[in-house]
Symmetry: C2
Subunit: 349 residues, 2 copies
């Protein structure tokens, strides 16, 4: 338990439905904070498509340094069709993840019986993906030559280091150790991406020796997508690289009741910089501003935030409120704010 | 229609269940060939784990050049746990795909009502993935430094060229044009892999101008996995890079009745070298030699082979026989050879 009573929070609503779902997450955060005797002092940062159109800026370094001073970051969603693809993703979202050394991208998946799944017989699903967050094909280490000509060549370099792989693998083992099933699955593609894949495999094998209670297995990423559909209950903790983690967690969200429920934490386990919490879903510009978005993923991300700050009871209160709310869902659509209100009331109750 | 009557076929059974399922594919191929007045002269190549253990060879260049002289190649599966991961995949399977310029890796997906799907409500699913086969992260253009030390760094380079992207995109558009729904979806990750992603996107946009009847859309690879689970009926032709195609086609197989039915063609559309046909599934060493494997994917791969050689009636006869066989499946297990016998009999009947 933390003894700290006041926390500073940087808030980036972002684009599309980002601000709407973030507002509900903050509503719930405030409601539980009041009950648990803590306060969040918020600073909002106006970052995203509007800012870029107005000023050409994505995330100026001075603002990044301000954000860095906070205890945690809550983010909505980033990206808009009016901005060239990649500008906001690389210049804002990934800049935050990389600069703040969010090397553990934590993404839990769970099937709530009342929500169901597109799968006919999903079984009991409750696993977490530990996605590496600061290396792999996401490093931006590529380029292009002779762009727009028939002789164009474009490369993307996946960079993997023993330093980067070992720290995330250790984190994943520690999480598996704390879970009842104590199982860890490495997902990679080491029969093709042999250099990176063998580094991952050797690292997992080495760290496994220190965790004799953990059952370890390995799946190629293509086979992992099959099991996520045919036998998702087989998974407990999955550890994988940045790109495979991106793909697997959207698939995991799809089989477990939808992207509207998928929360994530971009975590710096060494606490040398604030961690950042955001729903897995994107900015969904087609439904933005219409109170149609489900804020549950953003609200569950706020629970991960509380947990990271050591406010475990407050986190559990949000999770219980969400579970209760989900169990009563009838399928009749509610406005974004109505869902937030209902969960806030329960969480504070 | 082809007027050629005799074809040469290079056969690589490979590892695990590879030889078993290949035997059934050949049985069916022979049965329809007899009826349709064509002959396949076969040469078997002893390649795979056993050969590697005995001689250290994966695919000697001289043997590759012999294989190159054939009209087509039928391959079972490659890979065994007794061989370091990547040795056979890179040294045999990918060597064939790259050396023979198999730039179109064609992978159809279809839900047979009688087989069903792990999805509760899949809808009518009938799409084809055109996976690029000679570029992307599969080029083997990576390396590692200081291996086994805490300072290790491993890279994997995805190489994409206008030449390579345009030719596969053109092929995908031509296939979409020949299909009733005339829809093409590009799958990439152009918000993160901006150099490669933008090359793909610009190429699709440019070629689209020549195909005004085709509806074109774009999905990030993570979003594509969601739609494959929540709305697979939305897809007609998917065009994507080598790695994304690997992942999406295993997922596509999973949602459409399993990897036991997924066929593929590694096609050289310019016919400068023989094309190669193989089931999408792996060597499944755990069930090898037990007559437990479903040879249907290998048999359907033989149908793709016939189609590629212009023997469209013979190809259709196999497809019809497989469909009829699948419709009568009761779930009671049949031996690999029994399934092959049943389909061969129907296909020749
Ligand atoms: C928006 C995009 C850059 C991001 C990613 O690829 O990581 C998103 O898909 C996610 O999973 O958080
Ligand atoms: C065996 C492996 C190298 C191969 C690939 O990754 O292409 C397989 O997964 C496939 O899809 O044909």
């Amino acid at each position: 338990m933390s003894t700290q009573k006041t926390f500073t929070l940087a808030v980036v609503g972002g684009d599309g439905i980002g601000p709407e779902v973030t507002a509900e997450a903050l509503k719930v955060l405030d409601a539980v904070s009041a009950v648990h005797g803590v306060t969040f002092t918020r600073t909002e940062y106006d970052l995203g498509a509007k800012r870029w159109h107005a000023t050409g800026e994505t995330l100026p370094d001075a603002e990044l340094e301000e954000i860095r001073k906070h205890d945690a970051i809550l983010l909505g969603a980033v990206g808009d069709p009016s901005v060239p693809s990649g500008v906001l993703e690389r210049g804002l979202l990934l800049k935050l993840r990389f600069a703040l050394d969010h090397y553990v991208n934590l993404r839990p998946s769970k099937i709530y019986p009342s929500v169901g799944s597109p799968l006919a017989a999903p079984g009991e699903v409750d696993f977490v993906v530990v996605r590496e967050g600061t290396e792999g094909p996401y490093v931006g280490n590529g380029g292009a030559l002779r762009v727009g000509t028939p002789a164009e060549i474009a490369t993307e370099v996946s960079v993997n280091t023993a330093y980067g792989v070992e720290r995330v693998v250790r984190d994943a083992f520690a999480r598996a150790q704390a879970r009842p099933r104590k199982k860890l699955t490495l997902v990679h593609k080491n029969n093709v991406l042999v250099h990176a894949g063998h580094l991952w495999k050797r690292t997992v094998d080495a760290v496994a020796a220190e965790f004799p209670e953990i059952t370890v297995d390995y799946l190629h990423v293509d086979a992992a997508t099959i099991f996520l559909v045919t036998d998702p209950a087989r998974f407990d903790v999955i550890v994988t690289d940045n790109l495979f983690g991106d793909i697997l967690t959207d698939l995991a969200a799809a089989i477990s009741g939808g992207i509207g429920l998928a929360a994530s934490g971009n975590i710096n386990p060494d606490r040398t910089a604030p961690s950042m919490f955001e729903p897995v879903h994107g900015s969904a510009p087609d439904i933005a501003g219409q109170q149609k978005a489900d804020p549950t993923a953003a609200i569950l991300s706020a629970a991960l935030l509380l947990d990271h700050l050591g406010l475990t009871e407050a986190a559990a209160a949000i999770e219980a409120a969400v579970t209760a709310d989900i169990e009563e869902r009838t399928g009749a659509p509610r406005a974004t704010a109505e869902i937030g209100d209902a969960i806030a009331k329960r969480a504070a109750g």
